[in-house]
């Protein structure tokens, strides 16, 4: 069947929806030839560019694209070798598979999951490959699958505290946060916070709708609701309000037999201070517990009081002293 030429005018009228059924058939037949199909998209681009429409922010799109690529990059670097597999002699492929399996078994968790972590007093935000944003509070850890995140599933597990802003996917894929106490939060796209520390798990919803599941129990949360699981019992508090916030950003320091020299390190990193000790024995003192401190001074004071030592804090220099300061 020799195709007749399809004019640009005919294609344009088809794009606008004014072509007849017969004309559409002609276009279909014509476009079966690859070079004609190329021409089809060429004119489609030209037509689409001339159409009025909302302005699209290319720069913003580019930023989104870059951050997405950055996250998926981690995965693709480990995938090298797969595209070329059809050309390898079989035994090389077999060796590679064996090697991969043994590596896979050895580093199973590292390969299957990527961890986002924050240290004491550190707060960080990430954009995940599906465009969702997550902000982790101090001493928290978020584990997410490296493979197929956003494609086959969006499941993460959280230890600590985090706020999520989940993008809605075109395929309505759910985002699931596994927290402590067997609590699962399922969302389609919304904003919420999760607090998941030993002894207490809390979920606060600020926007949208989430389903929360814990073992057999399943409930739907509305904006402003909070659900707390403490000592094994679950309570659903409605309309706590937007002001209620369980997460106090940047203020928490969890220490577990942390030596004073490590505390010094944290102070140096987080607040840019220089830390000295009046005597070296001080360095090995250890401190445990959870501290609320909105600045360096508060943290230094709390730690010193607990250890029964003194300190001097001038300019950006801290010295821990063996004797408590006279008051």
């Amino acid at each position: 069947m020799e195709n007749q030429e399809i004019s640009k005018e005919l294609l344009f009228s088809h794009f606008e929806g004014s072509a007849s059924v017969r004309q559409r058939q002609l276009i279909d037949e014509w476009a079966r030839k690859p070079e004609n199909e190329e021409q089809f998209y060429w004119y489609l681009t030209e037509w689409e560019m001339a159409q009025p429409g909302l302005a699209v922010d290319v720069e913003q799109g580019m930023r989104r694209y870059r951050s997405r690529v950055e996250l998926t990059n981690v995965v693709t670097e480990e995938e090298i070798g797969v595209p070329a597999r059809h050309y390898w002699p079989r035994y090389i492929a077999a060796c590679a598979v064996l090697l991969l399996i043994s590596i896979g078994v050895l580093y199973r968790n590292d390969i299957l999951y990527a961890n986002l972590t924050t240290g004491p007093g550190q707060v960080r935000s990430w954009t995940l490959s599906d465009g969702s944003r997550v902000k982790l509070n101090a001493s928290s850890e978020l584990r997410l699958p490296r493979w197929g995140f956003g494609q086959t599933s969006r499941e993460v597990s959280l230890k600590g505290e985090a706020t999520f802003s989940i993008t809605h996917q075109a395929n309505n894929q759910r985002f699931i946060v596994k927290a402590g106490d067997g609590v699962n939060v399922t969302v389609l796209g919304t904003e919420f916070s999760v607090y998941s520390r030993p002894g207490k798990t809390e979920v606060i919803l600020s926007k949208g709708k989430v389903t929360l599941q814990r073992r057999e129990q399943k409930l739907v949360m509305k904006p402003g609701d909070s659900v707390i699981v403490e000592n094994g019992t679950l309570s659903h508090n409605r309309f706590v309000g937007a002001t209620h916030n369980t997460i106090q950003w940047e203020s928490r320091f969890d220490f577990d037999r942390t030596s004073l020299s490590e505390v010094a390190h944290i102070l140096e990193i987080n607040y840019g201070l220089t830390v000295d000790f009046s005597s070296p024995e001080l360095k090995s003192l250890t401190v445990s517990g959870s501290f609320q401190a909105s600045n360096a001074q508060e943290l230094i004071r709390s730690v010193s009081q607990i250890l029964g030592i003194g300190y001097s804090f001038k300019a950006s220099r801290v010295v821990f002293l063996s004797e408590p300061a006279e008051r």
Binding site: A31, M49, V58, R64, N73, A170, N171
Partner: protein
């Protein structure tokens, strides 16, 4: 010239798997349609990262515009196009494309757009979560069906009562919140919700009747 047998039932992910072996890049001169991509193609081959960004700058807005015809929402359209570029680069799709990049990108957008509408049309009322069990990956046989589809969607929207259409457009196209719309029109948020719901039902029903009749709907059991 490498003629891709999947030209008409193209699916972004399937193509990636189906394309085995290296193919000669059709750097055909003279036909005028791939020519204009010659430099971008060279750039992508030379430095995939930078090349893809060049490609992104060139086609991002026009692809978003086209995607919007299918998905109705700007946010989802931009998201979708970003995804396509991300796959294009990260999964090395650019190495296997035998058509022009333009043709690939447009086909991908149209297929995703089609899938999106299919899912949209299969939603049950009252926001129940549903999933398609069958006919996943089935695509239209004819290239013009994509145009027909978005034109039908457009007609469905135009056929809505004026206020309902207005609300629908403001919400989906301009990305306004229900509250903002209610405030601007001097009606309650509840009314906005009801209108949105009715608009969606009308559109879904129309799409379902014409396009996605054979779809089997399975309710999530989770």
């Amino acid at each position: 010239m490498g003629v891709d047998p999947h030209v008409h039932n193209f699916d972004g992910s399937n193509e990636a798997k189906a394309a085995t072996g290296p193919r000669q890049l059709p750097l055909h001169g003279g036909d005028g349609f791939s020519d204009s991509e010659f430099f971008i193609r060279a750039a992508v081959m030379e430095n995939p990262k930078l090349g893809t960004e060049l490609l992104f700058k060139r086609y991002y807005s026009v692809l978003c515009k086209h995607a919007m015809r299918f998905v109705g929402s700007r946010e989802i359209a931009e998201d979708l196009v970003c995804d396509i570029f991300c796959q294009f680069y990260s999964e090395g799709i650019f190495e296997r494309i035998t058509t022009s990049y333009r043709a690939y990108l447009f086909r991908a957008v149209r297929n995703y757009g089609y899938d999106h509408l299919k899912k949209e049309a299969s939603k049950l009322p009252i926001g129940e979560m549903v999933e398609l069990s069958a006919s996943e990956g089935l695509q239209p046989d004819h290239i013009t069906q994509y145009e027909e589809l978005y034109q039908d969607l457009d007609k469905a929207i135009s056929g809505l009562p004026i206020q309902r259409r207005n609300i629908y457009m403001q919400f989906h196209l301009e990305g306004k919140s229900q509250k903002e719309i209610a405030l601007a029109l001097g009606i309650s948020t509840r009314t906005v919700q009801v209108q949105m719901y009715r608009a969606q039902q009308t559109i879904r029903t129309l799409l379902r009747n014409k396009w996605f009749v054979s779809i089997v709907i399975a309710i999530f059991t989770h």
